[in-house]
């Protein structure tokens, strides 16, 4: 294209034929010229270089190229740094703006104050970003291993923060007053026999080293009567002003509420992005191409790997699209066969899961047969093994079943895409959280004699007092054991599974070696492990107040361990995992864990009678009773207000108001969606008219030239 000066000093690139060509004409339009504008005095983007003869006409070209919107004057409210101009142009404009401080913009007076406030706040806004720990590590991980792995570590960091908050709350409200005020409680004297049995957690003085170790690992012995467990806390402190039972109860509720709010806040931002994309399938190719390259990637090796991964993914995606088209042409018989196979496979998976759950139930030893076996009682190692049997079974099931389920899902005939991952995720979530449910169920059976308050073991005291004189401590011990075992598994897996695999992979050559030696970070599995660990803490936090603190230490250790193994053993992922789905999905699973953990805690608070021999709620009919008792002590006005909150005349209007709000928001959202599609249609129409007109101009221009 030759550049030619036309009559008005306007730059009109000419096409190969007579008259302006179609692309040249389109590039003169205001919409296209605004894109190319780069600020006062700078040649517009895409202008032919060198444009020395245009510099004198630059002013005119600028004026002509952007008539309507006058880009010399960007709106006052836009910060200069947001303009896509080079530094010279921004500085020029800044100086000009600085010379006119008193210019009043009509109608923007209110926002001017806000603008100044925003400008003053800007330097301080960088501070919270600075306080975030491990920012550079996360960026490095994201660049090298992909967004999915990065989102796992972000979740880990978030959970660490949650645990620190929870530990602080419980520490401040229960532990601190105990140590500052009250006398440290002594265990109940063993000689006294009471209607609800006797409880003797007194450690037997000097114990030998193995017993000490087993006590540490199972929470018995010295640890049983320590601030670690519920049973240690007394009913009253010295001075009588600080109500320890109330504080204990409230700290649980407050930390639970805080966790809920923080998780909701995190999932809302993920939800906003997921809602924006009308349908993931519609824009997958554009997203994949435009946001494909991670600019943080450094080094020729990772870049080459990423390129290979991208190419592979694109090819697979295109193949799958072709396969999907052919699959739609399946006959009815083929569909029936497919669905028959799918139901069969799902039944098989359910059977496997059922077997795993039964194994876990058996391992919790509901009848105490294994525990009371004389051989087991003799050897401390066997005793420890029996105590840890539920954890072993659960970890075993969680290690073995997911690959098997993955294999079976692969046979179901779905396309090898995200569908498979999501379906697999469903099953693994179910497995992990349900195994916890099974454990809790069997414990419940033990404590409440199968929910039968009339059974002879539970009749006197409401719970099985002979085997479990302090059932809350026992529950806390189970959760403590699960936590420890989880930590041990996390420490053992790199050592016993990943390291040998890597070693074997490097020793055997060829495809087998590569198969063994390539380890990839399985993001969904790891995230589920995190959620499982956090759910444990939420369930056990009421019965084992220091569990949050232990979990903080565990997650801290886990972060550094996982980072070390990631950089040492793992290769970058071969499939990209989109961060947006991760950011929405993971907090959702966390919420599920929170909801699940609320059930046993609330059940224990409201229904099961507290132990008569230990804990801050001794002698009450149920744990919740301390709150109404406390309310009775308040003044009349506050009491009436609090009671009115519980009545129907408050709840019903609240429910009505929230349903109206919800319906309104839904209608608004759907109307916006409709508006967007209408506008899209308008844009298409306008652009078609524009292209038609431009074509006509080109034709007429050509004809005119021919006539001359």
């Amino acid at each position: 294209m030759e550049a030619g000066g036309a009559s008005g000093g306007q730059w009109v690139p000419r096409g190969p034929g007579p008259g302006p060509s179609l692309p040249a004409l389109l590039s003169q339009l205001p919409s296209s010229a605004t894109v190319r504008y780069r600020g006062p005095g700078i040649p517009p983007w895409g202008a032919p270089e060198p444009c020395l003869e245009q510099s004198g006409q630059g002013h005119q070209a600028r004026g002509k190229a952007a008539p309507a919107t006058s880009p010399e004057e960007p709106p006052e409210s836009q910060a200069l740094r947001e303009l896509p101009w080079p530094m010279e142009a921004k500085r020029y404009l800044w100086k000009r703006q600085g010379d006119r401080p008193t210019k009043q913009v009509v109608g923007m007076r209110g926002s001017k104050g806000a603008l100044l406030l925003g400008r003053a706040w800007a330097p301080l806004a960088g501070i919270p970003k600075m306080l975030e720990p491990w920012r550079t590590t996360l960026m490095k991980i994201g660049g090298q291993y992909g967004a999915g792995t990065e989102s796992y570590f972000r979740l880990l960091r978030f959970l660490l923060g949650l645990n620190i908050l929870g530990a602080l709350f419980q520490g401040a409200l229960t532990l601190l007053p105990l140590f500052l005020l009250g006398p440290l409680p002594q265990p109940p004297s063993p000689g006294v026999s009471q209607p609800c049995g006797s409880y003797d957690p007194r450690p037997g003085g000097l114990v030998d080293y193995p017993t000490l170790l087993t006590n540490l690992l199972s929470g018995e012995g010295h640890l049983e009567w320590s601030p670690l467990f519920y049973g240690f806390y007394p009913v009253q402190l010295r001075g009588g002003t600080f109500q320890l039972p109330l504080a204990y109860l409230l700290s649980t509720f407050v930390s639970g509420l805080l966790c809920l709010l923080l998780i909701l806040r995190r999932s809302v931002s993920g939800l906003k992005q997921t809602l924006l994309s009308e349908s993931g399938a519609l824009t997958s190719y554009s997203h994949r191409i435009f946001s494909a390259w991670d600019f943080r990637l450094q080094g020729a090796g990772p870049a080459e790997l990423r390129r290979r991964a991208l190419r592979y993914e694109l090819q697979v995606e295109l193949e799958e699209a072709a396969a999907r088209k052919s699959a739609e042409a399946r006959s009815r018989g083929q569909w029936a066969a497919l669905w028959g196979a799918r139901t069969l496979l799902n039944l098989l998976m359910l059977a496997l899961l059922g077997a795993a759950f039964y194994g876990i139930y058996w391992a919790t030893d509901p009848d105490g047969r294994l525990q009371n076996d004389p051989v087991v009682q003799e050897v401390p190692i066997l005793k420890l093994l029996v105590a840890y049997l539920p954890s072993i079974f659960m970890s075993g099931a969680n290690l073995i079943l997911p690959p098997v389920l993955g294999l079976l899902t692969g046979l179901e005939g779905y396309t090898r895409s995200r569908q498979v991952q999501l379906i697999l995720l469903r099953w693994t979530v179910f497995l992990r959280l349900a195994s916890l449910v099974v454990l809790l169920g069997s414990l419940w059976k033990q404590i409440t004699c199968g929910g039968n308050p009339e059974a002879e073991a539970c009749a006197t005291c409401g719970y099985a007092y002979r085997e479990l004189p302090c059932w809350e401590t026992r529950l806390g011990q189970e959760m403590y054991k699960l936590l420890l075992f989880d930590l041990l598994t996390c420490l053992a897996v790199p050592l016993l599974v990943q390291f040998p695999r890597k070693l074997l992979g490097s020793m055997c050559g060829g495809p087998l070696g590569r198969l063994l030696g390539t380890l990839e970070f399985q993001v969904p599995d790891e995230v589920l492990g995190l959620v499982y660990g956090q759910t444990l803490v939420w369930v056990g936090g009421f019965y084992c107040p220091l569990l949050a603190l232990l979990n903080t230490a565990k997650f801290l250790l886990l972060f550094y361990l996982k980072r070390f193994t990631l950089f040492t053993f793992f290769s970058p992922a071969s499939r990209t995992f989109r961060a947006s789905t991760a950011n929405f999905f993971f907090p959702l699973v966390l919420l599920l864990g929170l909801a699940l953990s609320a059930v046993p805690v609330l059940y224990g608070i409201f229904v099961i009678p507290p132990s008569k021999l230990c804990g801050p709620f001794q002698g009450q009919v149920n744990i919740w009773a301390s709150i109404p008792n406390a309310i009775q002590g308040l003044s009349q006005g506050v009491r009436d207000f609090l009671f009115s909150l519980g009545t129907l005349s408050f709840a019903v209007p609240l429910m009505l108001a929230s349903s109206i709000l919800m319906v309104y928001t839904l209608t608004l959202a759907s109307s916006y969606g409709r508006l967007v599609s209408t506008l899209k249609g308008h844009i298409k129409m306008e652009s078609e008219s524009k292209v038609l007109l431009a074509k006509r101009i080109v034709e007429l221009g050509g004809k005119n030239h021919d006539l001359h």
């Binding site: 894109v35 530094m87 190719y285 191409i289």
Partner: protein, 194 residues
């Protein structure tokens, strides 16, 4: 960092902070990195800031580890250069580059510059040729690493179908920004930090 604080004056620092998304530490680090790329005789503060005297040729900038492995490295330098031949970067160009790729930059400006980087023929729209070159840069430039012609055509067809709202066969800036706005991974991947 003690010696470099005295090198850039306070007014200049605050001016750069006002006009870019970078923090003070990032600007100082950028200055340090830039000075190391200059030839030894111009490695002082005054010369490094005068664009007429010292511009770093693109080849030297591309030796930075952050840019070396990037398939779009030449396009990035070309887009941010204000030299007439677009073959060298001054310090302010370098700051502009880092500002757009920084953490704090708005998605708007990132998508604007991404559009310019992907526009290989500099005509203000992404046409089929631009998209073809884009895909080739992503997958690899050798013969055996490229997609086959049929796959390429299919891919470009799909992209245009998804993003080209006005059906004129090209993607202009607003269509590009519209697609990018619905891709939340874009802002986190379009980052370069020294």
């Amino acid at each position: 960092m003690g010696s470099s604080t005295s090198q850039l004056s306070k007014e200049l620092l605050s001016e750069y902070q006002e006009l870019t998304f970078l923090t003070k530490q990032e600007i100082l680090l950028a200055h340090k990195t830039f000075i190391e790329l200059l030839p030894p005789e111009s490695q002082n503060v005054v010369d490094s800031l005068t664009a007429q005297v010292s511009r770093v040729p693109t080849e030297k900038v591309l030796t930075l580890p952050e840019l070396k492995a990037n398939p779009f490295k030449d396009r990035i330098c070309r887009v941010f250069s204000t030299a007439p031949e677009k073959d060298s970067l001054s310090f302010e160009d370098f700051l502009d580059l880092l500002s757009v790729f920084s953490d704090a930059a708005t998605p708007d400006i990132k998508s604007h510059y991404a559009f310019r980087i992907f526009d290989f023929d500099d005509d203000g729209t992404l046409n089929k040729e631009d998209l073809k070159q884009l895909v080739n840069r992503l997958t690899g430039t050798e013969e055996d690493t490229q997609l086959s012609p049929s796959e390429m055509n299919q891919l470009i067809q799909n992209i245009l179908e998804e993003s080209d709202i006005d059906r004129d066969g090209t993607i202009n800036l607003s269509e590009f920004q519209h697609v990018i706005s619905r891709s939340p991974d874009f802002t986190s991947s379009f980052k370069i930090v020294l």
